[in-house]
């Protein structure tokens, strides 16, 4: 079992955990947390394919992930502010009850 496979397995485990969280949790913030986990699993994949790929000397994967993290941070900020806006509007953050965009 080479290090790439280990990294991919960890990444898959991380993705599955994140997916399970995003699907099962009712609270919007916990769903966001799940999404962040899945995003990090993807980042881990990128790093792993760069580190153990044919050209580890070029910094492509690293830069890619850095951008991805910056995007994820921005996304998390937008997501959180959306959650707050929804909560203010509908007095709940339970996703089962937030079913309409109308309002």
């Amino acid at each position: 079992m080479n290090p790439l496979t280990i990294c991919l397995l960890i990444s898959a485990l991380l993705f599955a955990t994140g997916f399970a969280g995003a699907v099962t949790r009712r609270h919007a913030i916990l769903v966001l947390v799940g999404i962040e986990l899945m995003l990090n699993a993807a980042n881990l994949n990128l790093i792993a394919f760069w580190r153990f790929g044919p050209h580890p000397e070029a910094l492509t994967g690293f830069i890619f992930v850095l951008f991805s993290m910056a995007l994820a941070a921005a996304e998390a900020a937008v997501g959180l502010s959306l959650v707050i806006a929804i909560y203010r509007h509908q007095q709940t953050s339970n996703l089962d009850e937030v079913r309409e965009l109308k309002g």
Partner: protein
């Protein structure tokens, strides 16, 4: 260009304007109507005199004086195809202008008296003025198209005036008959016109060498041969002659003219004796160059062509035919009507055998004395309280001396009384040329016979009307209109003949005839003067008229009277006239009929012949049985075809359309609409079903994405292996 030519158009336009003004005036302004009509005619007469004097003036060039003017009217076809309207001034036009305006003027004046009691006085003068406009248009036209337009105006007014008393069924029928019969002839004229245009590309008579009557076009048409080996010019000439046959009442289209006497008497005088019916003769005279085209050169100078031969024969047959009918008529106007038909036949003979001048000379003299006779008969009818039957007249010489004298002059002129009357000279001219004609001697004999009959029936008429004793009265005549004088008492005039001074019986209408007022007698006297004097412009000794029309100076030479051929015909026509007059006097003058119901002398002697003549050779009945019945059958057939064949076809098509429409509607309703409805319902259900997928639960979507992702991965893994 001569000055007067440019104003020639005013002559017909003036009466046209008068007619228009009278027509739009609503109020019954009799004085205005009469003044306008008479004034326009008087002005026209003065202008005509001016035009006449212009043609008399010496001019350069050979042949008669001729000046044309005109303008482009309608452009059609190519850039240089203009329909031109124009007028021509030549001796033929000038002499007709003077005659029409002068006779017209006198008849207009006469009408003021004759129609004084009529309610529709305005309408009458409107029509009369319109007629004058049309007739003068015919006379001045330098263009067959303008000619045709004027010709039809004349036909229309003839129709309107014959049917002037349209409340009488006979007048309405006569008007229709006149219109339809002349229409048959006009069809020929129209065809001739179209053909002429196709051949020459112009309808102008004279156009500085380019006109259709000038030598170039005539030669071109005379050399072309068409149907039956006849030259094109001959065919066109004959078609145009057909128009003249209709208008001038020649056999076989003469039937309308006697019936046309249903109109007021001035109309009979103006239209159906002096001018309109002469328009046909004038037409033949106008297109004479066309008819004479292609004649072999002859020494006598009178061309003989197929067209002119036809003209001669038609004229000769008409002359004898109508003259024989006139012998056996009782209606004073009908006798004159048949006499007119007969004299028109004479004019046709004259043109056919002797050229334009011969026919036109008789036309002019005839216009004067026949207008005189008609107006005289109008005066008689007026005096006899609208009685037209000569059997119920008689002895009028005593009651109407002025009318008697002028009527006698007219009668002698018509009968051809030698030397002093115009009719003698003009008829003699015709007979003279017929005698010399190289075509056939028969027209000469027919003409002589017709002349004999003319003298005979005119003597008969005068004897019946003016001699003997008055046979009217006895209460059998109702005044046809409210007469200004006392109503008829119906006393026999013979009872107090002795105390009736002929000069003082005006206005004493105790059931007896009375003399007409001056407004009627003065025109009669003027016409009578011309009926005598006009003869002297065309005697063989001084053929001024002939020279005037042909453009040669006439010389006075009494010796010409006594050349052998001339003196023979002169003597012959004198003998004929005297024979006719004597016969008539012996049969009708010496032994007067005693009462209105008595049989005619001829009827007693030859009942079958008289009956045949009295019924006009049954021509009307023959037409009734053939042409009219055929026409009625054709109309019925057309109606039948229309109703059942064409109507059925139309009905069938409409039912087919309705059936098609029904099928379309069903298809539309059930197939197309139904299909769309079904498709729409399906779509709606599908939409409803798929809308259920959108629950709005974000996590459900996420779950679906997850399952799909797993499936995709599984597919990729196993798919690659396979």
């Amino acid at each position: 260009m001569n000055g007067i030519v440019q104003f020639l158009w005013l002559i017909p336009v003036l009466p046209l304007l008068a007619a228009g003004i009278i027509a739009v005036n609503k109020q019954p302004q009799r004085r205005l109507a009469a003044t306008l009509a008479i004034g326009s005619m008087a002005l026209g007469f003065l202008l005509s005199l001016g035009a006449f004097s212009a043609t008399l003036a010496p001019h350069e060039g050979a042949g008669p004086f001729r000046a044309v003017d005109g303008f482009n009217w309608i452009q059609f076809g190519g850039p240089d195809h203009w329909l031109q309207l124009g007028w021509v001034l030549d001796p033929l036009t000038a002499i007709m202008l003077v005659m029409v305006t002068f006779v017209g003027l006198l008849i207009f004046i006469f009408s003021v008296g004759y129609m004084a009691q009529d309610q529709n006085f305005m309408r009458f003068f409107c029509f009369l003025a319109l007629f004058a406009a049309g007739m003068l248009g015919v006379v001045i036209a330098n263009n067959l198209f303008l000619f045709f337009v004027s010709w039809e105006i004349v036909g229309l007014t003839s129709y309107l005036l014959i049917g002037f008393w349209f409340h009488k069924p006979s007048a309405a029928a006569a008007a229709k008959k006149a219109f339809i019969t002349t229409r048959i002839g006009d069809l020929g004229l129209l065809l001739g016109m179209v053909w002429l245009y196709a051949q020459t590309g112009t309808l102008n008579f004279y156009d500085h060498g380019k006109g259709c009557l000038e030598a170039g076009a005539c030669m071109q048409m005379a050399t072309q041969v068409t149907l039956g080996g006849l030259a094109v010019s001959t065919m066109i000439g004959l078609l145009i002659f057909l128009g003249a046959v209709g208008k001038s009442g020649q056999v076989p289209l003469h039937v309308w003219l006697p019936d046309a006497m249903e109109g007021p008497t001035p109309v009979s005088a103006l239209i159906h004796a002096a001018t309109m019916v002469a328009a046909g003769v004038f037409l033949v005279a106008r297109v004479y160059p066309l008819m004479a085209a292609g004649a072999p050169p002859l020494e006598t100078g009178v061309p003989v062509t197929t067209a002119l031969t036809v003209v001669t024969w038609v004229g000769a047959i008409t002359a004898i035919f109508a003259a024989s009918i006139a012998v056996a008529q009782y209606d004073i106007k009908r006798i004159l009507a048949y006499s007119t038909v007969s004299q028109l036949g004479f004019m046709m003979i004259g043109i056919g055998v002797g050229g334009v001048a011969v026919g036109m000379f008789h036309l002019i003299t005839h216009a004067f004395f026949k207008a005189l006779l008609f107006l005289g008969s109008g005066s008689v009818i007026h005096g006899c309280h609208e009685e037209q039957d000569v059997r119920k007249m008689g002895g009028l010489r005593k009651y109407m001396p002025v009318t008697f004298v002028v009527y006698a002059i007219g009668m002698l002129a018509l009968a051809g009384f030698p030397l002093f009357f115009s009719g003698f000279w003009s008829k003699d001219e015709i007979l003279h040329h017929a005698h010399n004609w190289s075509g056939s001697p028969i027209p000469f004999y027919l003409g002589c016979a017709a002349a004999l009959l003319t003298a005979f029936y005119m003597t008969r008429q005068v004897a019946l009307v003016f001699y003997g004793k008055y046979r009217g009265g006895a209460g059998d005549h109702a005044p046809a209109h409210a007469h200004a004088e006392a109503p008829a008492h119906g006393r026999q005039p013979s009872a107090h003949d002795h105390d009736l001074d002929p000069d003082h019986n005006h206005g004493h209408g105790h059931g007896t005839p009375h003399e007409s007022p001056a407004v009627m007698t003065v025109p009669l006297m003027i016409l009578a003067a011309f009926a005598i004097l006009l003869g002297f412009i065309g005697t063989p000794a001084w053929p001024w008229f002939d020279g005037y029309l042909t453009g040669e100076a006439a010389s006075f030479d009494l010796g010409k009277l006594f050349t052998s051929g001339t003196v023979f015909v002169l003597l012959l026509s004198s003998v004929i006239a005297f024979t006719g007059l004597t016969l008539g006097w012996i049969l009708y003058g010496q032994r007067q009929r005693q009462n209105a119901g008595e049989k005619d002398v001829l009827e007693a002697a030859q009942p079958t012949l008289f009956k045949l003549l009295h019924n006009k050779y049954y021509i009307d009945e023959i037409y009734e049985l053939t042409v009219i019945r055929f026409n009625a059958f054709a109309a019925w057939l057309c109606d039948f075809l229309d109703q059942w064949i064409f109507g059925g076809a139309v009905l069938l098509v409409s039912y087919a359309a309705i059936g098609g429409a029904w099928v379309c509607r069903r298809t539309d309703e059930y197939l197309i609409n139904g299909g769309f409805d079904a498709a729409c319902a399906l779509l709606r259900e599908l939409g409803g079903g798929s809308s259920k997928l959108h629950t709005g639960r974000v996590q459900t979507y996420l779950r679906v994405i997850g399952v799909a992702l797993v499936l995709l991965i599984l597919f990729l893994i196993w798919g690659r292996k396979a």
